[in-house]
């Protein structure tokens, strides 16, 4: 039998600010979610408050990529798309690409990005695929290599190079304090791969609610437990932390606020106003500024 001192579980509870304090300039950060869906926005907002820069960002991009581009923190961006879903084009990403202010864009097919993360998670140098062959992806990424099947077919395939991350941020619905995490919505996206492709030390999961381990199955079946504690270093309780993106079934996208975000991005003055009002303080300040904005807009209706 183990001695009692060995059996007390280690808590991984931390805060957004403590998590992003571990991020150094030049690191490679993977951000979970998809477009404007279940993005770890409270962690992204915390990252905006740090001095970290020259980051490599890997993402199925949405407002996470937009905000980091607008803040000038991105050196290299690995993406298949950047979109707000219900609003097709992300304004800050668009402006940054058109101004040429993302020094090293790396544009992949969506499935290639999955393969890169999966290879990274399995510690393989690459995984083969047909996705990308013959397309502009090969033209704009001259470092990509192909590999020939060693079997009789001898087919030439694209060898998608593995991505290993220095840090991973994902937002899920529930977790316990040890890092067993749960998604309750319709799609995990590739959040498990972002965590598995990341070096231990900076794998952060924010959740709507931290619950005791024995309550993990009260809201979803065991099928929803795709992230276990060996994949997680820090757990952050972040209610409404994915705002303004979706976090089904806890809440949907705040479409009105997303539209206000896009409208504000149209010119420098209005964006400065948005930053002053929403992005200049703590996460608690953000949430109360959003609540106030909502109340105003309710009155206007």
């Amino acid at each position: 039998m183990n001695s009692p001192t060995n059996s007390s579980p280690r808590t991984k509870l931390t805060t957004e600010d403590a998590a992003v304090a571990t991020i150094e300039s030049g690191m490679t950060i993977g951000i979970g979610g998809w477009g404007s869906r279940r993005k770890p926005m409270s962690l992204v907002r915390a990252l905006l408050r740090t001095d970290a820069r020259d980051l490599t960002v890997v993402s199925y991009g949405g407002p996470d990529v937009g905000l980091l581009c607008a803040a000038g923190k991105v050196k290299r961006l690995v993406y298949g798309f950047v979109s707000l879903d219900s609003i097709a084009l992300e304004p800050h990403f668009r402006a940054a690409r058109q101004a040429g202010t993302i020094p090293e864009p790396v544009e992949y097919d969506e499935g290639m990005l999955q393969w890169a993360l999966y290879a990274g998670s399995l510690r393989l140098p690459f995984l083969p695929t047909r996705a990308g062959l013959g397309s502009g992806v090969m033209d704009v990424n001259p470092s990509l290599r192909t590999v020939r099947s060693p079997y009789d077919d001898a087919e030439e395939l694209l060898a998608v190079p593995a991505i290993r991350l220095d840090a991973a941020f994902v937002h899920l619905n529930r977790a316990d304090a040890r890092g067993n995490a749960q998604y309750l919505g319709p799609d995990l996206y590739f959040d498990d791969l972002f965590l598995a492709a990341c070096e231990p030390g900076r794998r952060f999961v924010s959740v709507e609610k931290v619950v005791p381990t024995e309550q993990l199955l009260t809201e979803g079946t065991f099928h929803t437990l795709k992230v276990n504690r060996s994949m997680v270093d820090g757990v952050i309780e972040a209610p409404n932390g994915a705002h303004f993106t979706t976090c089904e079934p806890d809440y949907g996208r705040d479409e009105a606020f997303q539209k206000a975000y896009v409208d504000a991005a149209r010119d420098g003055d209005s964006w400065k106003g948005f930053v002053d009002r929403f992005l200049s303080g703590s996460e608690a300040d953000y949430q109360s500024a959003v609540a106030a904005w909502r109340a105003e807009n309710e009155v206007k209706k």
Binding site: S83, D109, G111, T129, R130, G136, P186, D187
Partner: protein
Amino acid sequence: MSTELADVVAVACAEAWRGDGEIFASGMGTIPMLGARLARATFEPDLMVSDGEAFFVAGDLPIGGRDKTIEGWIPFRQVFDTLWGGRRHVMMGASQIDRFGNTNIANIGPWAKPKAQLLGVRGGPGNTVNNATSFFVPKHTATVFVPTVDMVSGVGYDRAAKLGGFIAARHDLRRVITNLAVLDFGGPDHAMRLVSTHPGVSVDDVRAATGFELHVPSDVPTSRGPTDDEAAAIARIDPKGLRHREVAA
């Protein structure tokens, strides 16, 4: 009552999936989604259609409808698995398309510093070398139908032929449906060919709106309108008439 353009276009989109059987009919946007559901509701009952989020749905789910009968689960990871396995026919948009079906949804102008950044290549490269792909273009103009696309997000027949092997043998771009016409790649060397023009549209109208030489057979029929069954299905699937917002008469 005269047939409305959006109904002709919806039927033309549905026709793209004729004969596909039990595969995932995936439509990006209102009219392609309507087309897939219309085909399933009428002449292609084994097709599988999704709610556009993560579920396969049975029955005639209206566009944007929430009261769904779920028959399967198709999160993004399974979408990739399904399309890499070839069990899908997708209808996508195209901001640019050339004579051999190379398409672009990524950016206008040079990729390194685009004049207009669009979505990025998204799933276009994987789609076009793995599963059947059709395209829907709501406004047929010479700025969309171009001699050369600025970024190849979807692989056309000339590029697929150069790859050879598995991809060239199975490369399958089906149809291009626009507000003017239906086209396919049945011309010489899989060049784009005019299949039919919509009511009131002439072959010359289509030629004038196309920025490359189109293969035009001697006999070009007029695109058909919906049958009674199809009209009833369209009314069930798009009761709010959202299709009329995508193609102007």
